[in-house]
Symmetry: C2
Subunit: 514 residues, 2 copies
């Protein structure tokens, strides 16, 4: 008889470019986003969660980033012929939401949103096809006060998640100034759009390519290390000088920078308008208490996206970290945004001015974790071990006692004791302690026949045990008690004491590591 044909087993694997998040990866992010949402809310921004799926028509088929026109979205066709797609950012859905609901929304409309977006790009190291974005935008006002407010809010946000004012800077620039510079350099007019795009992207790469690389792109073009050739904007010497001067226009004080920019755009109306907008934003921020120690005018910020029409801004973390090559580098950009006036027009024909910021959630979280500003105190649950399978009801009773108990009766807001009973095969007790170790448990509760008879439990300090195992001499090991016997009615209090001792110890260690 022929063997029945087996269906091959499916592979248990995330699709390429996707990943799973476990434990504190999830909760640290949630904690950070909650703090951010708190600031946004305080500024009068309302939450919005649009559907993850949009019609391709509403979304626009491709990313607006002109640098990568061929990268797209995850899309599929419905039975009725419509094409749907996963959102690739939060701005395109905002435009759709605003156009759809504008009669019911307050005007201006301030909204924040946080959630995953999807990009159908080639995945690479550290480059995923699903990641979080956290955006705040104000739609329906051309007032520079809206841009200033978002920069102030970004500053408050960074400080709310634990970044001190000396560890970040928010840089502001204005696209109109850049357009003025281009006009002066002879790149005005519809027929020069391609050249303007090349200049924009060249400036955006200053960090990576250095002045010489940018200069090459402003002129004939540039061959990179791999031999690939990128066509340049074709500017002459004098014109390229003007653009290079723009990037170099930052002076020690805001007013000095503004004065230098004014010189550079002389004769261009749009340039003068941009300079005036920068001045206005700086004055508003100053009045609200956000001085140049936090927010500065910096002409080298241009932001790659083509759709910005006025102020652009970027938040950079200035502390050092090790990069993947082991080099010490500034952490760099974690958020950016700017003013855009055309997105809603696609739907309504009306120009609706808007400005907004997007926080790179994964990068900001990585920064907080790299510097021990979040996730430093996570600890596993107390594990109630099982010596006798038939007494499971008693073990459940113990674990329920722990879970009902406040960590600190004087401060109930700290929550209750985290605890679980061992649910695996209890036969091998060593496995239970290995399990507790994998769970990062601070404390194990042990009770067998002898203990039940005498109405006591053993409380084992797993943190002390782990530390002694690493550092202690045999003498110390013997002297310091890792295990304590207490009456059952004293268990909660004894566990509480141990957990508090651990918490104090951790706080000291965290301080040392920061």
């Amino acid at each position: 008889m022929a063997k029945p044909k087996k269906t091959p087993r499916p592979t248990a694997q995330t699709p390429k470019g996707f990943r799973d998040y476990f434990g504190t990866d999830v909760t640290d992010r949630a904690e950070m986003l909650q703090k951010i949402a708190g600031v946004y809310h305080r500024y009068g921004f309302d939450a919005l969660e649009s559907s993850a799926v949009e019609t391709v028509e509403a979304l626009g088929k491709f990313l607006p980033d002109v640098d990568r026109p061929n990268e797209g979205v995850f899309a599929w066709q419905e039975e009725d012929g419509d094409w749907l797609a996963l959102r690739y950012d939060m701005t395109a859905p905002l435009a759709r939401v605003y156009a759809q609901h504008r009669n019911d929304l307050p005007n201006p409309y301030r909204r924040y949103t946080m959630g995953p977006v999807w990009r159908n790009e080639k995945p690479g190291p550290g480059r995923f096809r699903q990641f979080y974005q956290c955006d705040a935008d104000t739609v329906g006002t051309a007032s520079m006060a809206a841009d200033a407010e978002i920069c102030a809010m970004l500053s408050d946000t960074l400080e709310a998640v634990g970044i001190q004012s000396e560890d970040y800077v928010i840089r502001i620039n204005n696209r109109k100034v850049l357009n003025g510079v281009m006009e002066v350099a002879g790149l005005a007019g519809d027929d020069k759009e391609a050249e303007r795009g090349i200049v924009l992207r060249a400036i955006d790469k200053l960090d990576r390519l250095g002045p010489d690389g940018v200069r090459a792109l402003l002129g004939e073009g540039r061959k990179d290390e791999s031999g690939d050739y990128t066509k340049g904007a074709g500017l002459g010497e004098a014109e390229a000088d003007i653009v290079m001067g723009f990037m170099d226009a930052k002076r020690d004080t805001g007013p000095d920078t503004v004065a230098r920019l004014s010189e550079l755009v002389q004769g261009s109306d749009i340039g003068a308008k941009g300079v005036a907008e920068l001045e206005e934003i700086a004055a508003l921020l100053d009045a609200a208490g956000y001085g140049p120690d936090r927010i500065v005018i910096d002409p080298s910020v241009v932001r790659g996206l083509g759709y910005y029409t006025g102020p652009v801004y970027e938040a950079e973390l200035t502390f050092d970290v090790q990069n993947e090559k082991g080099q010490t580098v500034q952490f760099g950009s974690v958020a950016g945004g700017g003013r855009y006036d055309d997105l809603v027009k696609r739907f309504t024909g009306q120009e609706v001015p808007a400005t907004g910021v997007s926080i790179g959630v994964d990068r900001l979280l990585a920064a907080l974790r790299a510097t021990n500003r979040i996730g430093t105190t996570e600890q596993g649950p107390v594990v109630v071990t099982v010596m006798d399978r038939d007494r499971m009801a008693d073990y459940q009773r113990l674990v329920a006692l722990l879970r009902e108990a406040d960590l600190d009766p004087d401060n109930p807001s700290l929550g209750k004791i985290r605890a679980e009973v061992f649910l695996g095969n209890p036969r091998n007790f060593g496995n239970q302690l290995k399990y507790a170790d994998k769970r990062n448990s601070p404390v194990a509760i042990i009770a067998g026949d002898d203990e039940w008879e005498r109405g006591v439990v053993q409380i084992k300090d797993l943190v002390l045990g782990a530390e002694l195992a690493q550092t202690a001499t045999q003498e110390e090991w013997k002297e310091r008690p890792q295990q304590e016997e207490v009456a059952e009615c004293d268990m909660v209090e004894a566990v509480r004491r141990l957990l508090q001792k651990h918490a104090e110890h951790r706080q000291v260690m965290d301080k040392l590591n920061q």
Copy 2:
């Protein structure tokens, strides 16, 4: 000259069956999920966020619900030929994650997860193609203590979000008991699988069809109101009696119910095993303090899904609400789950026992909101109005003062004052007050030339204004001051006083409405 052809404007519309969530729809849900996560965490469950996208192969192509085999997933083909899809629930991804990462995960593995899932179903009223699920599962243990623990945790969860113990009940049953009943009724054996499925789904519809309808489905079949005929399981009178007796086996106490079930499955080993499991769970829950006032054995609970293999459980809210037809009905089920042993086997060939619960997030949130248990105190921001566009920096300064101020200096955990400046066109002051009204603002700050000169601001109580407009006689209107003039340096304190007065007033009203 021919007009240039215009690209037609895209329609600003969520795709059919999708929706956007605004403001408190988002924040109330987040608040509820945070409370739930707190309980799960306390029970030793770890967070997991798997990717929203899975390979179709890993996911299994269709919903496991045998009642709806043709409903599927949103799927698309990659350039390399692979098919990807959006997850349709949280259980299939858990199976994939566990199979993929099992060597790194603790064993047993307790995890919780919350997020959207997507169903490619025909949308209908109140039936969306993207919705939230919140699941907790324990993978890798056959112990009934795992099932008992999840039921206890579900009870704690409902109480943590504000449902009192008299307002819900968790019902437990066991599929093995049902299988025993089927065996006794002559439906054992592989060749009777279709009939067993019919019986399962018939029982699950008891609420909707009543005993007569179920009885018809156990026998020859049933014609519904629309004339559609559903084939029955073909049981004879005596056999159908046994099944009907099973659904009716609930007695006043748990032990009595168990005794009745024992009688019904007499002669069936699997049935006896199921009864023993129910007894064990009941004993464990009793020891942990969860008595029949919260969790009961109820044979009418079967859960439609085919994959359950042991205990099944369901949480029902017992208070009355008005349904869409205006009838008063019990709110009904908000969560359910059970034990399933086959899901991971698809990947590894190994049988890995698991049990878990899924909370219907939207339904539970609707229940909390319908009974004023959440979202009753949301209020808009203080709005600083703009009388003089040129003084925007001063208005920004005022709004910054408010935002930096604690709502209650004695209790900083309450957060700071929510405030915004009006960013629309300030010319028409009436529009600013209309805007404040749309924002549900409690207080407006007003300052024009006269006020700036004298160093004062006007503080307008918008809540009082709104209430007076609804209820007051003209006399009262005049007597109660809606507007107060204070020195600028006293603004924060005056706003704080007003907000506290409003908060106390709201608390009284919320209590009355509950």
